[in-house]
Symmetry: C2
Subunit: 276 residues, 2 copies
């Protein structure tokens, strides 16, 4: 397996127009590829404003999704992997917050449906209840690539250390987090949680947020970032639309795990994380 | 149960003289009590330099430890709880890194023996191997107090999210961490891990480090701190010897857990943390 690759994180300005969002995503994938990216990551709900009514309005079935067709074509034409942030996806009468992962041929190699639904109620600050519209996924997701196994979670999933440990124990060395923290939780929690997950599990983490669009009802924090297994920040966006890049050398995972053998030092005689 | 109390964190300058360290600890407990503290926290290895040879030289049996007798007396005379950092403790032919917890009468109400031993080897930066001399404890530790259940871990234990989840599930609302991170790991990991544990588990965390003593072979980072269940910093020391205080209102735990119901939202149908 190849040990080195370039990551691109597309901090898209998501707007209330699906076609515009698709055009933007395709264009950013193309630009990322021109800048020699191997893996491109899009943000959570990259084709849809973060709003329960919009989720229903914008939703597509996986089989005939024009969003997925466009991303597949972009991945194939540019010859890059794409962790396609997330989109509102319907199956039967269920609505999911779903991340599809594409290989360099535009084939879908993985699907993560957000498994922890975001219900927050801080009086006079922020209220959002995903469980009003969404159904939770039931699967810990890792996909195989030519570089390493990659884990994928979506936004609120990142608040559960259990999930990161399970992906790590399954062999993920890079974990992708399409996520849209807001202006209340973002400044206090976003960077700390991303860095802590990387430090605890000694993996690379790439977190992709939409750019900050003050015109929407839910304003994303931005600050997409790539963190290495020691917790060092390799790349970080501001609040505006931009693509950030990070050159990943997977040998850093082994190096950090040799220097500080956290995974070996777990006391699995006393406790353990189990998947049911 | 009382919902409010004052914490004092004694960031002691530990020196290579056991009696001086005991005198210092007793004096800082007295000062904390004068400033109306209810619970006083001492740092890891507060009576002994952080060094494998010193651990052996300074070690005491719990039954006849002059360090513990002095701390018990100080707790009783001042009428405060003391989470007595840690000391090198022998039992039979074993040596432990042990935290004794005292109530307001000076009675021992809990004992945590460090259960993850710190073995680090970063070439040309830092090498330390606790497992050369120490034996690991085998117990997840929580103690009952008049305020709430308190969890206790020691330093390297804090790198294991499993342990924090277990203490939280057992009902701990405050977790004490006597710890001595160093000048390599401290600046990058100490604050991030402490805040992440608080944010993930929505508990108060108090972390007590020795002050920075450049004269010892292992230089502690300092930066003792108290963090609330939202991750907000209530008090933080610098590098020098000092006592920091924080007024704790436990209703903040319930408030944060209502606003963002992380513990309820865990997907225990998919995964779980088990204690064996």
């Amino acid at each position: 397996m190849k040990n080195q690759f370039r990551l691109a994180v597309c901090q898209m300005m998501v707007v209330d127009n699906k076609d515009s969002n698709i055009v933007k995503a395709v264009s950013m994938i193309g630009n990322s590829a021109k800048n020699k990216a191997d893996i491109v990551v899009l943000p959570e709900m990259f084709n849809c404003p973060y709003d329960n009514f919009k989720f229903m309005e914008y939703a597509e079935r996986g089989e005939d999704s024009k969003t997925l067709k466009a991303i597949s074509k972009a991945a194939r034409e540019s010859g890059v992997y794409v962790i396609a942030g997330s989109i509102p996806e319907t199956e039967g009468d269920k609505l999911y917050n779903s991340s599809f992962i594409f290989d360099r041929n535009g084939e879908i190699i993985g699907l993560h449906r957000k498994m922890h639904l975001f219900d927050i109620n801080i009086p006079e600050k922020i209220t959002f209840k995903e469980s009003d519209t969404l159904t939770a996924g039931n699967q810990v997701t890792t996909v195989d690539t030519e570089f390493c196994k990659i884990g994928v979670v979506i936004c609120y999933d990142m608040r559960f250390p259990e999930l990161f440990r399970l992906m790590t124990l399954k062999g993920a060395k890079l974990i992708g987090i399409p996520g849209a923290f807001n202006m209340i939780t973002g400044p206090v929690h976003w960077k700390t949680l991303i860095r802590a997950r990387a430090i605890d599990n000694q993996v690379f983490i790439v977190a992709a947020s939409p750019a900050r669009n003050e015109g929407l009802s839910y304003v994303a924090y931005g600050n997409s970032m790539v963190v290495d297994p020691w917790g060092d920040m390799l790349a970080r966006a501001g609040e505006k639309e931009e693509i950030i890049y990070a050159d990943i050398n997977l040998s850093r995972v082994d190096e950090v795990r040799n220097e500080l053998p956290l995974l070996k030092n777990r006391r699995t005689d006393i406790y353990d994380m189990i998947e049911k």
